[in-house]
Amino acid sequence: MELLERFAAGDQEAFESLFRDYQGDVYRWIARIVRNRATAEDLTIETFWRAYRAHARFDVRRGKFSGWLRRIATNAALDHLRPAKRDVPLADELSDGCQKISGVEQTELRRAIFAALGQLSAKLRVVAVLALMEEEPYDSVADALGISVNVVKVRVFRAVRILRKELQKAGVRP
């Protein structure tokens, strides 16, 4: 029996093999959304936990495992960013830009940007982070969220409008 079929049948050894094969991909994807190592680790475990519990719903013939897992990961990240937890800021611990010595003006600008991002709903925030910061293609964002490319575009435009408004309030002219 093939690995995915064994996983769908509830075989824990098959699950372990898949976990080892895909943990890097899932961690990277989540890290891009939440931009924090510890949270990305926790959400990676949460993603595989959800996948393990939903093994029977995985259709070996229809679905691609990596795509299915990415949708679960995106939903786990979305749940993390939902309103009750929105005051948890995006720390941007993982951005390469933070490693560089930056001027006061740049630090202030970054702070204003992350404060503005905190004003977005979870749905808009995920799209904004993936499309604007990570420059992920719209079709890839759409696939991960299970929505159409047009909906992604609408969400990006709405996010940009809100970000501009919030940045203007903070004295930044986008």
Partner: protein, 74 residues
């Protein structure tokens, strides 16, 4: 709102030093964490089992005469 505004926002993010995370690797193998998450589920007693135990306890408490009959059948 247009693609031009989106591009401007992307430029602003770059100016602020907010860059893509890119290929961040997990700092360690996460399987031990996953195993810890899986383990309690295997040993957890479902809530209806506790209800059954509580019900049996109540029966024995209110009808102690049942105890010898129960022991006989065990």
């Amino acid at each position: 709102m247009s693609e031009q505004d989106v591009s401007k926002m992307k430029e602003l993010l770059k100016k602020a030093g907010v860059e893509p995370v890119g290929l961040a690797e997990p700092p360690r193998d996460l399987w031990p964490m996953m195993l810890a998450r899986l383990a309690p589920d295997a040993t957890r007693v479902p809530w209806w089992d506790w209800v059954l135990v509580a019900g049996a306890g109540l029966v024995l408490w209110f009808f102690p005469a049942v105890v010898p009959a129960l022991l006989y059948h065990l």
